[in-house]
Amino acid sequence: MNWHEGPHLERLAECVVALAREAGATDSECTISEGSEFSATVRMGEVEQVKEAGSRGAGVRVLFGQRTGSSYTSDLSGDGLRAMVSQAVGLARITTEDPFAGLPDAADFGTIDHGLDLYHGDVEALDAASKVEMARLAEKAALMLDPRVSNSEGGSFGSYLGASAFANSRGFLGSYRASNCSLSVVPVVKDGGAMERDYWYSTARSASGLEPPELVGRKAAERALRRLNARSLSTRKAPVIFEPRVARSLLSHVFELLHGDSIYRRASIWAGKLGEQVAGSEVTIIDDSTLPGLFGSTPFDDEGLASRRNVLIDRGVLKSYLLNTYTARKLGLRSTGSASRGLTGNAGIGHGNLYLASGALKPEELLRRMGTGLYVTELMGHGFNAVTGDYSRGAAGLWIENGEIAYPVSKVTIAGNLKEMLNQVAAIGDDLEFRGSVAAPTVAIGEMTISGQ
């Protein structure tokens, strides 16, 4: 596939918008994307799987007044695109007038001009053999660390190159391309009858940005080893600390709470709470899609509004929801540039780089200050209810006594209400780093109910 097809994709998108106009649509918007993926897994030193392919797709949304219809296709031929447009036109007939439906005002369109650094040629330049070798080295480092690392689900290298274009009938036209790659290892450790696994990974927009394979493998093995011979706990209340890998999930819950759809439907505990204190004063949460080189960065959102930095919670005070044009109109607010969608359909809401701002303390200091409690390193299940804030998830981690690791813990749950959890954030670590578009440093929460034997 030719990776310099941005202008070509833009022309196709414009062409779809023109077809929709010819078909009588009042407004329309079109997304066209193409991508190629590569992945390789090495298990116990042998190549297990290599996958390589590319694909393309187009989607259109048409408006007839305030009725909408959407369609998509993987057939980008002239006939394919025409069939897609006529299908969307047919669907607009059966939907209902929605007084809030419509494209953004042209005055709101924009795009980030400075280099977002989303595409690195070194990903495309890396040959398959080198990628396989990185996966092999990462797995080897895990297997060599300790004799108890006796098995593995493999080391994997994955890369993705993508380009997408967006055009609408009010004159927005933009495109960009992006690259990313990742390296991960899943070692399995055994001691007597007990068996545990864990994983570690590195991900970056450039191949040179990845952590060395040896580091990824070693860290994965260390994480699996420290889980061996875990115990459950008796049911109790105790302070809890989330390590960064699991603290990110708290941000995903915050995203649900700030999601414009949940706000106008009153399906979030934070509906109607703008300007109120909703979290402890340590808590500042930001969504920034303009940070160069990061995974949540884009030049414009999926309605053609320029990407931006939104402060969502400032020292505990709720400053902003996450809104697209539709939800902003419903709420009488302005879009936060957070529109997101796949190829087609009404725009939903997404986030850019969503993160909890760093605190001042080293993670070890957080453990020392907690004294005795649970350091959570894994969460399981989906037990969060944005409507009520109720929180209950399966957990594994390390029991801490006097600030030191006492023993590994598994098969417990931690429960509370997110409202109280965020109000009881006792301290935040200084260890923020991005391994994806959601990131958090170590977070110390007050007491939660730990349920076990």
């Binding site: 799987q49 392919a53 369609s71 068996m195 009404n346 299940g381 037990g383 409507v387 594994a396 598994s410």
Partner: protein
């Protein structure tokens, strides 16, 4: 039906000699086996929100995946363009996994046994769109009519029609037409200044449109969703600690999916990474427990005439009276383990490599009267509805989210409790099954199973079951 009359032959003009040519290309550098998986998928989705039909979407995607197996190695490539040049290119890319002289493929294809587990009378795609819109409108009205405390209703109807074709280098050719339809209703209810509560219901399967008119109507799902939300308005905090739990029949079978099913998928067991590895013939559950995975059930969400490697699906007994009988196989793991295919090789789409997956997984009925099971519990939790679940197949630890449950006090269901996660260990929890009801029920047809980033539709089922000692993750002591 002959191949020449099948979807890909008639719509795309793909002849058997084309398939042979691409398979030869796939084995041009050696390898033991190659296959082609063609897929054409047409989808429709219509949603209502605030009584407004806000969205209607249709689309088509198609492509072909080429797989080459060489020992334990898999090479995979795909194309979303069905032109001969692009398919040949994909075959050449997949071929690179092998290193050796080219292999010749078997000439001439043999079609396998064909079945018709989901003969759809009215394919939704053949009906006017307005008829499908009427389903979400009816759901919206019924949920609002159920109780004035219902203030928000969203309903989504979606149907898909998938045509697939599998051709293999060992001379097999099989094709299938796989319909799927589903209706979901989400409801919020509120009383006074208290926080709202939500209810969720839905169902469907490999069914025609008449299913929603005659068997499970929009009103049925709407009322169930509204009922759950209203019940939750009076819920108290869930208990914390180890309790006796009674599972209601039906969807709570998701417990088996997590606690047993994933751990029995052959890829994990071949590699020795599952808590159930090397345990065939051993006791892994109470003698009351017999677990079956059955891909051959009529019209069900997890059913398939053939799996995504072209093998017939089967009814496979996984655990029989507590003894582990076998694993869920795909071609690769079956060949390495010397096992016969069980018809469990599945994939999300042509862009994905097949692997062992569940179909419809359930526990056979026992002999206990369900009411007797509840009466036998002095102090426990009755779980009526679940959200989803998750498992770590290596340690065997699993969770599932109980979204509607009730305290059992002195053998009676008393107060509803708020949602809570339950956690246990698969082999341990299955040993703690002490009563099994005579009321096996399957779920309504809403299951989606995720593994290695691939989602496939599945079914689950269970009779009323008593589990002595599972950790309930509430906040009340």
């Amino acid at each position: 039906m002959r191949y020449s009359d099948s979807f890909f032959a008639s719509k795309f003009g793909i002849a058997e000699r084309d398939l042979e040519g691409w398979l030869s290309e796939a084995l041009s550098r050696g390898g033991d086996y190659a296959d082609l998986y063609f897929e054409y998928l047409a989808t429709t989705s219509i949603s209502i929100d605030e009584s407004i039909v806000k969205s209607a979407t249709q689309g088509v995607s198609m492509g072909v995946g080429v797989r080459v197996l060489a020992g334990e190695r898999t090479g995979y490539a795909y194309s979303d363009d069905l032109s001969p040049e692009r398919i040949r290119h994909a075959a050449r890319v997949a071929a690179c996994i092998a290193e050796g002289p080219s292999k010749t493929i078997k000439e001439g294809f043999l079609g396998g046994e064909r079945r018709e587990l989901y003969p759809v009378l009215s394919p939704p795609a053949d009906l006017p769109l307005e008829e499908r819109v009427s389903l979400v409108r009816r759901a919206d009205e019924a949920a609002r009519a159920y109780d004035p405390r219902v203030f928000m209703v969203q309903a989504v109807y979606a149907d898909t029609m998938k045509h697939v074709l599998v051709a293999t280098s060992d001379g097999r050719i099989n094709f299938d037409r796989q319909p799927m339809a589903r209706l979901n209703v989400l409801v919020l209810a509120r009383e006074g200044e208290n926080p709202p509560q939500r209810g969720y219901s839905g169902g469907g399967g490999r069914v025609g449109f008449e299913f929603f008119l005659n068997e499970k109507t929009p009103e049925y799902f709407a009322r169930e969703s509204a009922r759950q939300a209203i019940v939750q308005l009076n819920a108290v905090d869930a208990p914390a600690g180890e309790l006796t739990v009674v599972l209601a029949p039906g969807w709570p079978g998701v417990l088996l999916h997590e606690a047993v099913g994933h751990g029995l998928e052959a890829d994990f067991n071949r590699k020795g990474t599952s808590a159930y590895s090397n345990r065939v013939g051993e006791r892994v559950a109470s003698s009351l427990v017999t677990v079956v995975d059955d891909g051959t059930m009529h019209s069900r969400r997890g059913s398939l005439n053939m799996d995504d490697e072209g093998n017939l699906t089967h009814r496979n007994v996984l655990i029989e009276n507590g003894i582990l009988r076998g694993y869920l196989q795909d071609r690769l793991s079956g060949a390495i383990m010397g096992a016969t295919p069980t018809g469990n090789g599945r994939r999300e789409s042509y862009q994905h490599v097949p692997m062992p997956r569940m179909t419809n997984t359930f526990m056979l009925a026992g002999e206990s009267d369900p009411e007797e099971i509840v009466r036998s519990v002095k102090n426990g939790l009755y779980c009526a509805t679940f959200g989803g679940g998750q498992v770590d197949i290596t340690s065997g630890n699993f969770v599932f989210d109980a979204t509607e449950s009730y305290l059992i006090e002195d053998g009676k269901l008393t107060r509803p409790v708020r949602g809570a996660t339950l956690i246990g260990n698969g082999p341990e929890a299955m040993q703690r099954v002490t009563m099994v009801g005579n009321d096996l029920a399957l779920d309504e047809g809403i299951g989606i199973c995720g593994k290695d980033g691939q989602s496939v539709p599945v079914g689950v089922g269970i009779p009323t079951v008593r589990l002595d000692g599972i950790t309930v993750g509430g906040t009340a002591r």
